[in-house]
């Protein structure tokens, strides 16, 4: 989800010297399987590569078309529950909430 901070001109200038943010990559989709980082206690439990896909056009905006000047909090549904040992390893039993930190700006770093 786009964050205003990362859209600001100051931030864009700062980032120009570093790797591209996912939705400014115009060289095609940015699919790369990655291993989630695991705590030492569970080496065997989490061997699940994660595919992250960026739009071919380089734009990724889930809020496109939504009214301006509103704050949205999507409602969570009960779905995609990890096995208990995997959930313990990832720090959440909900697959949708497994969001490991990958560096400023998200993927492609």
């Amino acid at each position: 989800m786009p964050n205003y901070r990362y859209q600001s001109p100051e931030y864009m200038n700062m980032r120009r010297g570093n790797c591209a943010r996912p939705y400014t990559n115009t060289q095609g989709s940015c699919q790369s399987p990655r291993e989630p980082v695991c705590q030492p206690a569970c080496e065997t439990a989490c061997q699940e590569p994660e595919i992250v896909c960026c739009n071919d056009k380089g734009h990724y905006d889930e809020l496109r078309g939504m009214p301006l000047a509103m704050a949205y909090v999507p409602w969570q549904e009960w779905c995609d529950i990890y096995e208990v040992d995997k959930g313990f390893c990832h720090g959440t039993i909900f697959k949708e909430l497994n969001k490991p930190f990958r560096g400023i700006g998200g993927c492609c770093k």
């Binding site: 969570q76 009960w78 039993i93």
Partner: protein, 89 residues
């Protein structure tokens, strides 16, 4: 025939795992109090957690006040290692 003593480390790890599952589903249920799947999930792992805690208390001493036994001749709560001590976690 005596009951087989479970591995302390493995049992503790299992207790951590099911307790975490219960903690996480509890947070979900706070905002989704009528979700039947979440309620079933909670019941299942609460049951497993209670069983695991009882088993641990039986062989290695109590982890909670509810599993502390008054049948022992001394108060084991203070004698088993605390979590920050060697063998405690």
């Amino acid at each position: 025939m005596s009951e087989q003593r479970p591995c302390r480390h493995e049992l503790m790890e299992w207790i951590n795992i099911v307790s975490f599952a219960v903690d996480d589903v509890k947070l979900f249920l706070d905002t989704h109090p009528c979700n039947t799947e979440a309620l079933e999930y909670f019941e299942e792992f609460k049951k497993q957690r209670v069983q695991a805690l009882k088993e641990y208390a039986k062989f290695y001493g109590p982890l909670t006040l509810d599993t502390a036994s008054s049948c022992e001749d001394h108060w084991t709560w203070i004698h088993e290692p605390w979590p920050w001590q060697e063998g405690g976690c």
